[in-house]
């Protein structure tokens, strides 16, 4: 893997720091009028998801991290791992741990395509598409004659996720959910 010097640190670049893969968020060149130059860098640790603020001497290098994003279709879970398949025609399969899937477990649906980030060939994280269509499996009946305006109620989706929905939503309906906010966006027309 190549090494990158501080002047090559761009937002999105993946580097290794203290044994963990990190993504560069920001890189600020700091140079006192009469002093040595430094780079103040914000990075996200891709294992812990924590943001680090670090200062490096300008010109210092960090090794690149073998981190790549791939489109993969979700197949099934065996209880321990969540299995995905590459959509590039290779049919290559990867098992992601519960930790790698993280919050995305709320939006996992078979045959849907997700972004799986591989680190040294193993799934590090799974990102859902911005919108997914999911079925309501449980919600209390709404009030008769209610329209799009007014209150909301909880609804449990096929994935187990609970989202707030308008009162007129009924069980069995397919909803469009924004996975970034976990909010109801609309419903599939019957």
């Amino acid at each position: 893997m190549a090494s990158y010097a501080t002047n090559e640190f761009r937002s999105g670049l993946k580097v290794m720091l203290e044994g963990d893969p990190c993504a560069i968020l920001e890189n600020e060149f700091v140079k006192p009028g009469k002093g040595q130059a430094f780079n103040r860098v914000r990075l996200r640790n891709l294992i812990t998801n924590r943001v680090w603020e670090r200062t490096f001497k300008s010109g210092e290098t960090l090794p690149g991290a073998d981190v790549m994003d791939y489109d993969m279709e979700y197949l099934y879970t065996d209880g321990e791992f969540f299995h995905f398949m590459m959509t590039d025609g290779s049919f290559e399969q990867h098992g992601a741990s519960k930790a790698a899937v993280g919050e995305t477990i709320n939006w996992l649906k078979e045959q849907e395509v997700y972004t799986v980030t591989l680190y040294n060939g193993s799934p590090l994280s799974v990102t859902a598409p911005n919108f997914v269509m999911l079925e309501v499996v449980q919600t209390d009946p709404g009030l008769k004659g209610d329209t799009a305006t007014g209150g909301s109620k909880p609804a449990t989706l096929s994935t187990g996720a609970v989202v707030k929905v308008p009162l007129f939503i009924t069980e069995g309906e397919i909803l469009k959910i924004d996975t970034r906010t976990g909010e109801y966006v609309g419903r599939q027309q019957k």
Binding site: E28, K34, Q36, T55
Partner: protein
């Protein structure tokens, strides 16, 4: 993207504002009877400051294949000091200077510097003059003056002039980054200052720039200023910097007038450059000679005009105040 690269990086309104700023600066000095001077941008000498790198070019007399090394100036300081020794009186320079390798949000390899010298005053009186200029060209108010020592005592509980290198390193690990070791004393001081002190210096409130002067730097950061003794009996550099909205705007000295001392500092800088593995440039012997011939008691200051413009226009990047940033130039 690339089809837009012909366009300026700054808005035209911003450039109009810059034209007005430059005009107001010249008006101030005209009224103060300070002479504008144009010093060589191309020089046979270069700065030997360990942390400033020069652009190098080559002069080839027509009809020959000779290659004479020349350097783009990083500051007009040396020729201005030669003019002062020659009896110029108060002078200022307003124009572009060049620094190799410095590119980033607030840095561009070429930038506009205002540098001026006043006879018969020290760095404290020059701070008054800086405030006078800024108040004349923009909405500026001086908020406070602190010694370098006061700020370190308040922030870290240490005296920066007497603290051991070990103490400075430990504080750097605590406040800046645990991975920063094996640095020089000045590097630790700079890191602590720029991380924990500088961001809180000065302000921008209701369209007004509020500046803070920091004076009496550690003697190890004297650069081209004279060394004086402070109230605590410690040797300090007769140097100040102006900060506003958390960044450095100007750097001034009660100028060193001792040619022998100047030569010794240049030699030391050259050694440090060699140690750092940096190119070693010829220093300006003419400037040392000028000091040796007799240099008037004076104070001088350099101000980053792009930074000032950024503050006035409330822009975060230097590319927003110059017509074409480095990557489009």
């Amino acid at each position: 993207m690339s089809e837009h690269l012909w366009q300026p990086s700054a808005e035209l309104d911003s450039l109009r504002q810059r034209g007005e700023l430059l005009r107001n600066i010249r008006n101030y000095f005209h009224q103060e009877d300070v002479m504008e001077v144009e010093t060589p941008m191309l020089s046979h000498h270069a700065t030997v400051d360990p942390h400033i790198d020069s652009f190098q070019t080559v002069f080839t007399p027509l009809g020959t294949k000779a290659q004479e090394k020349l350097y783009l100036h990083t500051s007009p300081e040396f020729p201005m000091k030669r003019l002062l020794s020659a009896g110029s009186g108060d002078i200022y320079f307003l124009g572009r200077v060049f620094r190799n390798g410095e590119a980033g949000g607030r840095h561009n390899p070429e930038f506009t510097m205002l540098e001026w010298y006043r006879l018969g005053i020290d760095h404290h009186a020059l701070m008054d003059d800086v405030t006078g200029l800024l108040a004349a060209v923009t909405n500026f108010e001086e908020q406070a003056r602190f010694s370098y020592r006061e700020l370190f005592e308040e922030e870290f509980g240490i005296d920066p002039h007497t603290a051991t290198d070990e103490t400075l390193m430990k504080l750097t690990h605590e406040y800046v980054d645990s991975g920063l070791s094996g640095l020089a004393r000045n590097d630790y001081l700079d890191l602590l200052f720029s991380t924990s002190i500088e961001p809180n210096l000065g302000d921008y409130v209701d369209g007004q720039i509020q500046g803070v002067f920091v004076y009496d730097y550690p003697a190890s950061m004297s650069a081209l200023s004279r060394i004086i003794v402070n109230e605590q009996g410690q040797k300090v550099a007769a140097r100040f910097e102006l900060f506003a909205n958390g960044y450095e705007l100007a750097n001034g000295y009660h100028e060193l007038a001792d040619g022998h001392e100047q030569r010794a500092r240049f030699e030391k800088d050259l050694q440090e450059r060699e140690l750092l593995g940096k190119p070693v440039y010829p220093y300006d012997q003419n400037m040392v000679s000028a000091l040796e011939q007799g240099f008037p008691d004076c104070a001088g200051v350099a101000m980053g005009i792009d930074r000032l413009h950024m503050l006035i226009a409330q822009k975060r990047a230097i590319k927003d105040v110059i017509p074409f940033e480095f990557f489009r130039a």
